[in-house]
């Protein structure tokens, strides 16, 4: 029994404060710096003090990469149809509208065309907020269409990844999206059109094991978790703690699986320079 009864509501848990970008202030979960919303936007959602890269979605990323007013989105309302009538503790048929309501998105990827420093590009960007950025039929199809657009119009393709992996609720359909997207990339590659993969926090599972790792150039944001198996699973398998920095961008750079680590503020410039060096 407590000695005093709290008459008001509980003090809000600390995590609620960190949520962004709803409130005016955000606390950096790495260095505890308190950052104003305006300042955070100015710094492209990275911590001005410690360079921590916060998770952002397609809306923010499109704004960072495309020249103002040039972005045209396709297949915006494509959505899942629950092909397996999947049910675990909740029906997938209910999960989808819930996720749509919560995020204002229709699935975990958006794609469109536009200009990047006056160069035509196709960009697809994933949204981790939508069911953990998981890849089902819709993600595979939209990524595939983005690649096909690049192929048909001879335009470089850029994919920004953030995903927990394949979406379990679509079973083997989800698995096949790995093959589908990779097959389309093979065709794009055979036509000599560049594909730049940008890996952000976190990129794991079936997404890493397909298009994310297949860039002609793979770029990663600093400190992003990137891997095939999740850290928890690996820890269980080997029965030991994982070394610090394991599966982070810097670890992948060291082991030869990403070409460069690029700060979000430098991303647009770096990709533009790369494309200018790779194409005529």
């Amino acid at each position: 029994m407590a000695w005093f009864r709290r008459s008001k509501e509980n003090i809000a848990p600390a995590t609620a404060k960190k949520e962004m970008p709803d409130g005016m202030w955000t606390k950096c979960d790495k260095c505890d710096e308190i950052i104003h919303k305006m300042e955070l936007e100015q710094h492209m959602y990275t911590c001005p003090k410690c360079d921590r890269h916060f998770r952002i979605g397609s809306k923010e990323y499109f704004k960072i990469l495309f020249d103002d007013g040039t972005f045209k989105e396709y297949d915006h309302k494509m959505r899942s149809v629950d092909p397996l009538k999947f049910k675990d503790t909740k029906r997938y048929r209910e999960r989808i509208p819930d996720a749509i309501k919560k995020t204002g998105l229709y699935d975990a990827v958006r794609w469109g065309t536009g200009k990047m420093n006056e160069r035509n590009v196709v960009i697809a960007c994933m949204d981790f907020a939508f069911i953990g950025g998981s890849m089902g039929s819709v993600v595979g199809e939209k990524i595939g269409r983005a690649i096909d657009r690049g192929w048909k119009t001879k335009t470089p393709v850029i994919i920004v990844s953030s995903s927990g992996g394949a979406r379990m609720m679509e079973g083997a359909y989800s698995l096949m999206q790995m093959a589908k997207t990779s097959a389309k990339l093979a065709r794009l590659g055979d036509a000599g059109i560049p594909f730049i993969s940008i890996l952000t926090d976190p990129t794991t599972g079936g997404v890493t094991a397909s298009y994310s790792m297949l860039g002609d150039v793979n770029l990663a944001e600093p400190g992003a978790l990137i891997g095939f198996a999740g850290p928890r699973v690996i820890k269980q398998t080997i029965g030991k703690d994982l070394p610090p920095g394991f599966q982070r961008s810097e670890f992948l750079l060291e082991h030869g699986f990403v070409d460069m680590i690029v700060h979000r503020k430098e991303m647009k410039g770096t990709v533009s320079t790369l494309l200018s060096l790779m194409t005529q």
Binding site: P83, D88, Q177, G206, F246
Partner: protein, 316 residues
């Protein structure tokens, strides 16, 4: 007779044991007649049990420790098999075996996951869970097949790609992704057969091809029922529900348009008659090879990419 019995097979084995005992007295015409009667009953029982298997029971059959594995099929179906080793970069992964062989008149590249049968061989084979060098060995040998214009046949049977620390260091994700990419436009026909367990990216890593076949009692999905249970139900106890929800059996995948053909198994499962299982598969492979060899390679690759492009269900 098989030594390992699954729960739902028990009534069949009990009758079979009875027959076995009665055979000692088979000189007696009455008993001989009785044996015949019981054998008929065994057959009926087997048919009725196996026509009503749940998805989880099929998963158990796919994992049956006496089921034929890749090397069994290779030995039973082909001649002149020469196993080739190593990825030329790091080491030889024992969880994937590969090499040239003759399948009747066809010279082919055989590649497959390899499980072990006991603790010792399972440790040697890492339980059929490849590391990146396994996928890279497979790719090296597919390229070799391409160079000499030989069709590739892959046999899928893995509980998954190995989720280890060193596998991550050496780029498990990249190795699988690279295979998907390269198999998509490999300039020789590829036939894929799921012979046992087709667990996620670890299986798909050698699973892109022109024709996808699946043995009657094998499974193929994005995740194993156990892992699915642990993630979505937060408990290991819902594997049967997870198997149902994932719809991971051969008829399910045929319906979903993900596989092309179901390869029938001997009554009671492939583990009961390796030779017969291999003969059925071989017949199917020969028919597929004959058909694929007639298609021009550019057309074949175009169709292969189209095939995977069509997979998926969505609206809008």
């Amino acid at each position: 007779m098989a030594k390992v019995t699954l729960e739902f097979e028990k009534p069949i084995f009990e009758l079979e044991q009875k027959v076995e005992e009665m055979r000692k007295y088979a000189d007696n015409p009455d008993i001989a007649q009785e044996i015949e009667k019981i054998e008929k009953r065994v057959n009926q029982l087997q048919r009725s049990i196996f026509s009503g298997l749940t998805r989880w029971q099929k998963v158990q059959l796919a994992r049956h420790p006496e089921r034929p594995y890749t090397l069994d099929y290779i030995n039973l179906m082909t001649t002149d098999f020469l196993e080739l080793h190593g990825d030329r970069t790091f080491k030889d992964d024992k969880a994937i075996v590969a090499g040239f062989a003759k399948l009747d008149g066809h010279r082919v590249m055989m590649i497959g996951h390899q499980k072990g049968r006991d603790t010792k061989s399972n440790l040697y084979r890492n339980f059929g869970m490849p590391n990146p060098e396994g996928y890279r060995k497979a790719l090296r040998l597919m390229k070799l097949a391409e160079k000499f214009k030989k069709p590739v046949i892959t046999l899928l049977d893995t509980p998954g790609a190995f989720p280890g620390l060193e596998a991550e260091e050496r780029g498990q994700a990249e190795a699988i992704a690279r295979n998907l990419y390269e198999m998509s436009h490999l300039k020789v026909p590829i036939i894929v057969v799921i012979i046992g367990e087709g667990a996620s990216g670890g299986a798909l890593g050698i699973g892109v091809g022109d024709r996808i076949l699946m043995l009657e009692y094998s499974w193929y999905s994005v995740i194993s029922p156990e892992s699915c249970s642990s993630i979505l139900w937060r408990s290991w106890d819902y594997k049967e529900q997870a198997a149902e929800a994932l719809q991971l059996t051969a008829p399910d995948l045929k319906k979903q348009g993900i596989i092309d053909e179901i390869v029938p198994e001997p009554l009671g499962g492939a583990q009961r008659d390796h030779a017969k299982a291999a003969a059925i598969l071989k017949g199917q492979l020969l028919a597929e090879l004959k058909h694929l060899s007639k298609i021009k390679i550019d057309k074949l690759i175009e169709k292969r990419i189209e095939k995977f492009s069509k997979m998926g269900e969505f609206s809008g």
